[in-house]
């Protein structure tokens, strides 16, 4: 979707302001927001792409005014409602409302350690050979789905070159809508800055994105 999350090339946000000696979390609740999202991820209540889609679906005016972990907490609330993990009454009360049906197995500290160590790989066996080779000139498709996609708007319609074949991976556009993993080949594609931003832009800039095969067409 062309939501507020798709920020590449937007103007007006001001300077980048690095914070000296920045703490990992700026408040206790940020740490909890982070950990709750990780733990619910391990519990496989939903997939990561669906979570991302929910997060970027927050109306732009709200998205742009929420802090980073404010976004996470807001998204988690909405996911819990959508997936039936909690009711609006429970969110309002701040407690589970009886009768509480306990799930058989909670995420444990040991599983957390394992998740941190192993991650959750998204590579899958390839259903077909890769269409493009390193060096192939490709154009990012002009597409504007209202659903989740990882093809940034600024790259669409522009021509670049395949510089790496990453492998065959779960396709977020499909997975985010719970329409299956539908794995596709994933490539790194390099664009010249001027191709993306016009003749007045810095000629020394190159931008690399990762693009699944359905995002690309041969030139």
């Amino acid at each position: 979707m062309n939501g507020a999350a798709d920020m590449g090339g937007m103007h007006g946000f001001g300077p980048v302001v690095p914070e000296p000696n920045e703490p990992v979390f700026h408040a206790d609740w940020e740490g909890f927001s982070f950990a709750l999202n990780m733990a619910t991820g391990v519990a496989k209540l939903w997939n990561l792409d669906a979570f991302r889609f929910k997060r970027e679906s927050i109306p732009p005016a709200q998205y742009l005014n929420l802090s980073y972990y404010g976004l996470w907490t807001t998204t988690l609330e909405q996911m819990m409602l959508e997936y039936g993990v909690a009711t609006p009454e429970e969110l309002a009360a701040g407690h589970a409302i009886p009768p509480v049906k306990k799930v058989p197995h909670a995420v444990t500290a040991a599983e957390v350690a394992n998740m941190v160590r192993c991650g959750s790989p998204y590579d899958r066996p390839a259903p077909a050979p890769a269409l493009f080779k390193i060096g192939t000139k490709v154009r990012a498709r002009n597409m504007h789905p209202k659903t989740h996609t990882r093809l940034p708007r600024y790259a669409r319609g522009h021509t670049g070159e395949v510089v790496r074949i990453v492998g065959c991976h779960v396709f977020p556009d499909s997975n985010a809508s719970n329409a299956g993993e539908d794995p596709h080949w994933l490539y790194t594609v390099r664009f010249n800055g001027r191709e993306l931003w016009g003749d007045d832009s810095d000629p020394t800039v190159r931008v690399c994105i990762e693009a699944w095969e359905p995002y690309l067409e041969a030139v």
């Binding site: 979707m1 062309n2 939501g3 507020a4 090339g9 937007m10 103007h11 007006g12 946000f13 001001g14 970027e56 679906s57 927050i58 109306p59 732009p60 005016a61 709200q62 998205y63 742009l64 005014n65 498709r141 002009n142 597409m143 504007h144 789905p145 209202k146 319609g157 522009h158 993306l196 931003w197 016009g198 007045d200 832009s201």
Partner: protein
């Protein structure tokens, strides 16, 4: 600028919600903000393009969470301060603290009807000829200026057809930034929906935008 104002084709803003029997203004202050903005054009000496840039030139999150006349007011304050007509401490105090700056003219009640009727035509005489004619295929240039432009992001890089040669008009990209009126030929360009939004989009849609000649190149 690719700011919060350039909304064409962005998602997630929700449904359009028409208000039944909507009043012209929703609060007393909106009326005042509106009238002040119009009345200050004369003493302020700024033009419409400067005004538009003053409105759009703010963080997108701020732009999108302000109401319409809040944005007008913020832009008016900004321009009045930039022009040295008012200062922060005066707005804070709610009163004039320093003597006024001499201005060329102000809007008098007797002139309101006349000024509104005259408007602000932007067409200018020229001895140049338009490069493009009706039916020509043109590509909207891929430009991404940090300054004011009237070429929406969603048409950039796309090919359309000239459907009208409008005339030679003040060029906002210059006029907004003290670059003078720099008049340029203005065209209406029509784009097919699928050209703008991809093969999956509604094929019955055509979108027309008005584009100044510097925004366009011949499509080959």
């Amino acid at each position: 600028m690719n700011g919060g104002q350039d909304l064409g084709g962005t998602h997630g803003h929700g449904p359009v919600e028409p208000e039944a029997n909507e009043p012209v203004f929703h609060a007393e202050w909106e009326k005042r903000a509106f009238a002040l903005t119009l009345a200050m054009t004369a003493p302020g000496g700024w033009n419409i393009d400067m005004g538009r840039f003053a409105r759009e030139n703010r963080p997108p999150g701020e732009y999108l969470s302000m109401t319409y006349y809040q944005i007008w007011l913020a832009a008016l304050e900004h321009m009045a301060k930039e022009g040295g007509l008012v200062s922060d401490d005066e707005i804070e105090a709610g009163h004039s603290l320093q003597p006024p700056k001499p201005v060329r003219r102000i809007l008098l009640p007797g002139d309101v009807a006349k000024v509104l009727y005259r408007g602000g035509p932007t067409e200018r005489d020229t001895n140049t000829k338009p490069i493009f004619g009706v039916g020509d295929r043109v590509r909207a240039k891929n430009i991404n200026p940090l300054t004011h432009t009237r070429l929406p992001r969603y048409v950039r890089g796309h090919v359309g057809t000239i459907e009208r040669v409008i005339g030679c008009h003040v060029f906002p990209d210059s006029n907004a930034h003290g670059g003078g009126e720099n008049p340029q030929w203005l065209y209406t360009v029509r784009f097919d929906g699928p050209e703008l939004w991809g093969a999956d989009s509604d094929a019955t849609i055509k979108v027309s935008v008005d584009a100044w000649e510097p925004y366009l190149s011949p499509a080959t």
